[in-house]
């Protein structure tokens, strides 16, 4: 039981990070119907911006941890959002009326460019961040097995929860969210009603990138190390999460992220850690056989 609870804590933390990244995939897919393969690398860039900002803040003598965290959050979200905006502007918008495959190939190219850029700029080695948030709480303890929840785990889960609630509110209740949903359902009609669709699509990329940058910060704080390649692995997992939950569905992305995190963790804990990715992807395949549109995805019904 104790072991199970401990794994649950780890799985939910990991799932939160995947969920934050998955939102970016699902939103972009919903609105322009393409898979933004560079999104995982935008997450990685977010992590590196956060690392640089942390070290810079420490160097200029900002020692208050909450203040540093807050500033890093702002800096990383703003700069990563800029990356997200630029990726769309440079690599996707010129191809929007082209063949369906063109932006996909361009996305893979963008992903390679971002990876190589960071590899050259930051070096290929693993970059460490000195532990900033330490400590934790004992949740339960028995028969010599202690269940702990660290402060960083609490921060990751709470931050994710707040962001997801905030973002869901934005999509459901605000003018921008309504415009985004209108674009998702009928791009042409939205433009006929006066919605600036270029601007709405740009904002979708900006918000997706900002959420991915928070995931990058969480990853950095949680694991303490980062390298130019994390975007690929985490990106594929988060993409899987989005598909599992039902691509195009916002609650689906959150649920999918959580599930992938849990599956991976429990498989590693009870079976074999080497096969954790096999487990995650196998479950994806099984789910897609029975629910081709994912768990919360909706079947495409055309009403004539």
């Amino acid at each position: 039981m104790e072991y199970f609870v401990q794994q649950l804590i780890i799985g939910v933390t990991l799932g939160s990070i995947y969920g934050l990244i998955a939102i970016g995939y699902t939103m972009v897919y919903g609105i322009i119907g393409m898979i933004n393969f560079a999104h995982g690398d935008v997450f990685m860039v977010g992590g590196f911006i956060a690392l640089t900002a942390f070290l810079a803040l420490l160097a200029i003598g900002v020692t208050s941890i909450p203040l540093a965290l807050f500033l890093v959050l702002l800096i990383a979200m703003a700069l990563t959002a800029l990356y997200g905006w630029a990726v769309e502007r440079i690599a996707y918008r010129p191809l929007r009326h082209s063949y369906r495959l063109a932006p996909l190939i361009s996305a893979i190219g963008m992903s390679i460019i971002l990876q190589n850029f960071v590899q050259i700029a930051q070096g290929a080695r693993v970059k460490p961040l000195p532990p900033i948030i330490t400590g934790g709480h004992r949740v339960m303890s028995s028969e010599g097995y202690d269940v702990d929840i660290s402060n960083i785990q609490i921060i990751v889960v709470l931050t994710t929860l707040v962001l997801m609630l905030g973002f869901s509110w934005l999509v459901a209740k605000t003018r921008l969210g309504r415009d985004m949903r209108a674009c998702e359902q009928d791009l042409k009609m939205a433009s006929l009603l006066g919605v600036n669709i270029d601007r709405t699509i740009s904002l979708t990329f900006v918000i997706g990138a900002a959420l991915a940058s928070v995931a990058g910060i969480m990853y950095l704080l949680y694991y303490g190390v980062i390298d130019f390649y994390i975007g690929f692995v985490a990106g594929v997992k988060a993409f899987t999460a989005a598909v599992l939950g039902g691509i195009g569905s916002l609650p689906g992305a959150m649920l999918g992220g959580l599930l992938i995190g849990l599956i991976e963790t429990f498989w590693s804990a009870y079976f074999s850690i080497e096969y954790k990715d096999v487990a995650a992807f196998s479950i994806l395949i099984v789910v897609l056989i029975f629910l081709p549109t994912g768990i919360l995805g909706r079947p495409e019904v055309e009403k004539v």
Binding site: R178, D179, R181, A182, Q185, D186, K188, M189, A190, S191, L192, L193, G194, V195, N196, I197, K303
Partner: protein, 247 residues
């Protein structure tokens, strides 16, 4: 005579290499109902969309209220208060009726919203009871009313209606034509109406144009066109016989 509100001059529109509109000239003056009638595939909806810059006219010009809008993006054209109830209605299926109407008010002054909502509900009382229902669950007639109501939410200076009677029961389409007439006589709304239902459209309109294969072949007052033998033959009582004979 004052210049027309909408002036279409020599417009040619292409889909790839195919010329769908072959130099269309057409005017809509303030306060008029103008109808464009023609068979399936004649270019009626293409003209509607060309006015909105999607697709853009390859040649010629579209001038609205003295301003050349030929190269303008669609959302800026909407800001000039041209509204469209397009072919196929294009209701947002996973938004509520209220949200669809809110989308229609995108370019409107937010302080008008409550007033305008009451106005369209008075025009189409059915919608009032469906406010929280999703657009995709409405019947065809209700969707058509919603499409028109959504277009009206922007307080348009020019309303473009693409086949509002398509697929509707006769009673419903009469209700819609009545609503259009009421909007025109009471509020002075300018309407450009595309119809296959030539009889009702010509009776309703002040003036009409006939389009055949991307070209305007006839124009005149609604009454004149109704009495033209070639219109009667092709679009009114003889239409079926003519079409069956392979005309």
């Amino acid at each position: 005579m004052s210049p027309p509100l909408l002036a279409v001059r020599g417009v040619k529109t292409f889909y790839g290499n195919i010329m769908a509109l072959k130099g269309v000239d057409l005017d809509v003056c303030e306060g008029e109902i103008v109808t464009l009638i023609g068979a399936n595939g004649a270019g009626k909806s293409t003209l509607m969309m060309t006015i909105f810059g999607n697709p853009r006219a390859g040649e010629g010009s579209v001038v609205f209220d003295g301003r050349d809008i030929t190269q303008m993006p669609s959302h800026e054209i909407a800001r000039l208060r041209i509204a469209q109830s397009p072919e196929g209605r294009r209701i947002f299926p996973r938004m509520t009726v209220l949200e669809n109407l809110q989308m229609g008010a995108t370019v409107a002054d937010p302080s008008h919203f409550e007033d305008d909502l009451r106005r369209v509900c008075a025009l189409f009382p059915l919608l009032d009871r469906r406010m929280q229902q999703r657009g995709g669950t409405l019947s065809g007639g209700e969707q058509q009313m919603l499409a028109i109501a959504r277009a009206l939410m922007s307080r348009p200076r020019l309303l473009l209606l693409d086949e509002p009677s398509l697929g509707l029961a006769p009673m419903l389409s009469q209700q819609i034509f009545r609503a259009i007439r009421e909007l025109n006589t009471r509020d002075g709304l300018t309407v450009f109406l595309v119809e296959q239902n030539a009889f009702h459209a010509l009776k309703l309109a002040h003036r009409g144009y006939v389009i055949v294969n991307g070209e305007i072949t006839l124009s005149g007052s609604g009454r004149e066109l109704l009495e033209r033998p070639e219109v009667r033959a092709a679009y009114l009582e003889g239409g079926r016989r003519e079409a069956a004979g392979g005309a």
